[in-house]
Amino acid sequence: MFANTVKPSFEKAGHDSYPDTLIRKILREVKVIAMVGASPDWNRPSYFAMKYLQAKKYRVIPVNPKVAGGEILGEKVYASLAEIPEKIDMVDIFRNSEAAGPITDEAIAIGAPVVWMQLGVRNDEAAARAEAAGLTVIMNRCPKIEYGRLNGELGWHGFNSGVISSKRRKLPEKA
């Protein structure tokens, strides 16, 4: 695919766009996601994303100090990343760009391999720290929208997916 064939150096070079290969790889390999800023309100964007990702068989563990101890979509809510007893493959940040800084540092501390900041969230300094520590960073994207874009679901709703291929669409299946 066109968008897949980007120079290898690109992954580190910038955060204005990401090759589809990188997004696909993350969505395929990640199994357990910690969602920081997950809301218990059904009409909040984080709830939408969590529900969707669960339907795609990801384990999503919510982090939100305000509702810690409670449950969102059947999952126990933790007050911080450090308190989660399980291994986290990706930290999905549903907070503003400033708050994303310290959360990224926590993600580095718990050894999460991927930090993903939501649409509208971008913190280049934090990204640089994470990348220096060997993490992969995605910013200003939504994993739900990216998943739907790559498997063709977004096209069901009339969106430009940027995918041109004569092959049947495949879901970014997990390893």
């Binding site: 064939t5 009409n43 964007p45 529900k51 339907a55 929208i145 709703h157 009339g158 004569s166 669409r169």
Partner: protein
């Protein structure tokens, strides 16, 4: 694909949005002739109704065949998403419905397809939407007409009945300074000749009935969103930026970001107004778009030859085609339509009303009808048909004086097109 470059327009026109059917492998897009779609279980249904999952519920809102066309058109325009609807007029209604409230205003160019002028000045009034018409020849006129209630500016880049081009880059700047979107009707140019998003337009509407389907056999319309307009920059666009009661307090812009306008178009516009595109029409239009580049090349090539022929004809008073050096819009045409100034234009016939009527009645190849953008060449004499209810002054102001003839040049052999006009002009002088 293995190349490093972005796919070209011709490749996108054939492939964007369409992939082999996941279930059957069918290569051409199937016509999903169905009204409704099963839910896996109650929770799946709830997720769909709450817009938390992607998927189909009912074809008034979304349909897999229509969705292929939506992605195709969104891609060709370089936009984020599109909503396809039953006609070009439905596209205009849906575009405004996303943010207009009773009492709101919008600015519209005076030179528009006549049906759009009527829709804006009469039927939209019933919704409490007030159009203020502005002479777009001078873009500054839009700034002068701006009011606090204005929510958008609407223009046709290449205006029907042809020959007039609006400086959309200048108008976009004025719209953005006022914090409102520029809506461009790109029906006459198509994305092959002009891509208004490249010049700052925010929303594009189409009558796909014309060149996109291209064969005079399928009604349709499209609303395309660039995804770039910031709906939260002021408090003018509350339906997109405040909790929506019909979805339990969902805030579209906050939840869906640059997808919000298109999701609103389906989840609110199509759901509640109902002008859905039929899957069969989507299929015909998908097939049409695959040859859009080839057809548009030939359309403009033929149109230019016909315009040049008419310009030299002694029975012709004037020709209004922006691709002619003599046109006052020639310079704007070079900028916005470098591949050609479309294939719809008007000319003035000597001998006025009677000569105009005789001309259209004497054509053998040209079809006498009220449409544009067909493989067939089309002709109409507005004063005796589409504009006959208007007074003489109104006809003149609308560019439909007694001597005006409108052509939509088709894809026949150009010598045959010219020969038919030639014999019909001779007959009209007898």
């Amino acid at each position: 694909m293995t190349s490093n470059t972005k796919p070209g327009f011709e490749t996108l026109a054939i492939h964007a949005g369409a992939a082999p059917d996941p279930a059957t492998g069918a290569r051409s897009t199937p016509i999903y002739q169905t009204t409704a779609y099963v839910f896996d279980d109650v929770d799946h249904a709830a997720s769909l109704f709450n817009l938390q999952a992607f998927g189909n519920i009912y074809s008034r809102l979304t349909n897999p065949t229509v969705a292929v066309l939506e992605e195709r058109i969104a891609t060709l325009e370089g936009g984020r998403g599109a909503t396809c609807v039953a006609s070009g007029h439905a596209a205009q209604m849906l575009a405004f419905f996303s943010f207009m409230e009773p009492g709101d205003e919008f600015l519209a160019a005076t030179k528009l397809y006549g049906g759009s002028i009527t829709q804006f000045s009469r039927s939209f009034k019933k919704f409490g939407w007030n159009a203020i018409f502005v002479d777009a020849e001078e873009p500054e006129n839009f700034r002068k007409s701006m009011t606090p209630k204005v929510k958008a500016i609407f223009v046709e880049c290449l205006a029907n009945p042809g020959g007039v081009i609006v400086d959309i880059e200048a108008v976009a700047k004025i719209a953005h300074e006022a914090g409102v979107p520029l809506i461009v009707d790109n029906t006459m140019a198509t994305p092959y000749l002009c891509r208004p998003f490249d010049y700052g337009a925010d929303i594009i509407v189409h009558s796909t009935t014309k060149f996109l389907s291209g064969h005079g056999n399928a009604m349709g319309g499209a609303v395309v969103d660039s995804g770039k307009f910031d709906w939260a920059q002021n408090d003018k666009f509350k339906s997109l930026t405040t909790p929506e009661p019909a979805y339990h307090g969902l805030n579209f812009y906050e939840t869906f970001g640059d997808l919000a306008f298109t999701i609103y178009g389906h989840a609110m516009g199509l759901r509640d107004l109902g002008p859905t595109m039929a899957p069969m029409n989507a299929y015909l239009t998908i097939t049409g778009t695959e040859t859009l580049p080839l057809r548009m090349q030939r359309h403009v090539e033929n149109a230019k030859a016909v315009a040049e022929y008419l310009e030299d004809h002694r029975q012709v008073e004037w020709v209004s085609y922006a691709g002619l050096r003599s046109s006052k819009h020639f310079k704007l045409a070079q900028k916005y339509l470098p591949k050609g100034a479309g294939s719809v234009f008007t000319f003035g016939i000597k001998g006025g009303y009677d000569a105009g009527v005789k001309l259209v009645e004497s054509c053998e190849l040209f079809s006498h009808l009220a449409n544009i953008g067909d493989t067939r060449s089309l002709i109409i004499h507005p004063a005796s048909t589409t504009h006959r209810q208007l007074s003489a002054e109104q006809q003149k102001a609308a560019g439909a004086g007694p001597e005006v003839v409108r052509l939509s040049i088709g894809l026949e052999t150009v010598d045959d097109i010219i020969a038919d006009l030639d014999q019909a002009l001779a007959a009209s002088a007898r």
